[in-house]
Symmetry: none
Subunit: 191 residues, 2 copies
Amino acid sequence: MSQAEIRKRKPGAGRKPNPIPTKAIRLPLPLVQKLQELQNCQKLDALYRVDIGEIFAGKVSSALRSPLFESRVQAGFPSPADEFSEGTLDLNDHLIRHKAATFFVRVTGDSMKNVGIFPGDLLIVDRSLTPTNGKIVIAVLNGEMTVKRLEKEKNRVLLCAENADYPDIIVTEEDSFSTWGVVTNVIHSLI
Amino acid sequence: MSQAEIRKRKPGAGRKPNPIPTKAIRLPLPLVQKLQELQNCQKLDALYRVDIGEIFAGKVSSALRSPLFESRVQAGFPSPADEFSEGTLDLNDHLIRHKAATFFVRVTGDSMKNVGIFPGDLLIVDRSLTPTNGKIVIAVLNGEMTVKRLEKEKNRVLLCAENADYPDIIVTEEDSFSTWGVVTNVIHSLI
DNA sequence: TTCTTTTATATCTGTACAGAAATTACATAC
DNA sequence: GTATGTAATTTCTGTACAGATATAAAAGAA
């Protein structure tokens, strides 16, 4: 065998570069452990690719109750507002069923405007609910976090937008896909 | 100098161990950059003290407001990381500015669906805000309570629906008319 | 004395590097 | 032909380690 043959016999061989490069850094041990747990769940990449906005944790406390008018306000033609039974309502109690499993996400994009989810809205997400067919879920598809309606067909899974301008997404075997929780409420600011 | 003296002349000297040990790990570069930004803001430790991992995993930490980092949240540049570092969100605090002046009402009818107000939604209404032009208000017209957009023209007042199927209402001199407050938020349930 | 500088430790920390993993080409068997 | 195994090649990745940093004792200065 000639020198040249020995030197370059398999051009193009070799491990392919990672799509996302990595870097070794030193971090506090507790944080390292948490990050590694997320890595095990394949949820780490969603951390830095959030197209959805910031994530909050919910603190449930301060029994601040405001009056609730149980009678309904007509958004249609006005009708006699007869019975108003006054009560009080704590928003935390009312909106958060599973305190330990609930988190908040802020929305960007208008792909769900038909169900009343607009950019800037705050979503209340319950992780303890099972993402059944038709539910609005927080999904992580190939590292991208989005809010979509989950459609489970017999052979495939769809992530459907609620806006004609956006196509439905078909989840294939090759995709990395998981759900983070079911959206229970949308808080939309009008100010 | 004797061997023993050379070997141990300053017992107790040496750098003290870190209160929180660290570990070198390899992470995706974009995440590394995000973490380093937080580190520059001295907000990194808040990440794991607040159980941020659980937040990402979808759980809510129960109000871990340590006075330590509340003092650190001093006047800096406002950034999403601020909300991060607290890691908690109280819906009452977040949604109710004037506690004594706020009440809730529930919606029927879909005349306001274009602004994301659907039947069954819960409205948060602040009575202390002045119902200026263009605001969504709770209005009482001839004893009937409705939610509409307020349009003040020079000679007349309109109550406008946000749905093409509904006509605008012109408030005349003969009508008994008052507003009860300005709608600040809509809470829309998806379950 | 008291303060400052030097020296000896002890631990921390960024990163270079050895070995692991991934990928292609080639050889061999059937 | 094609399936399987082996070698070559390239990049990735955990971690060991050299140098940086922090600390306390000892020495020196005032």
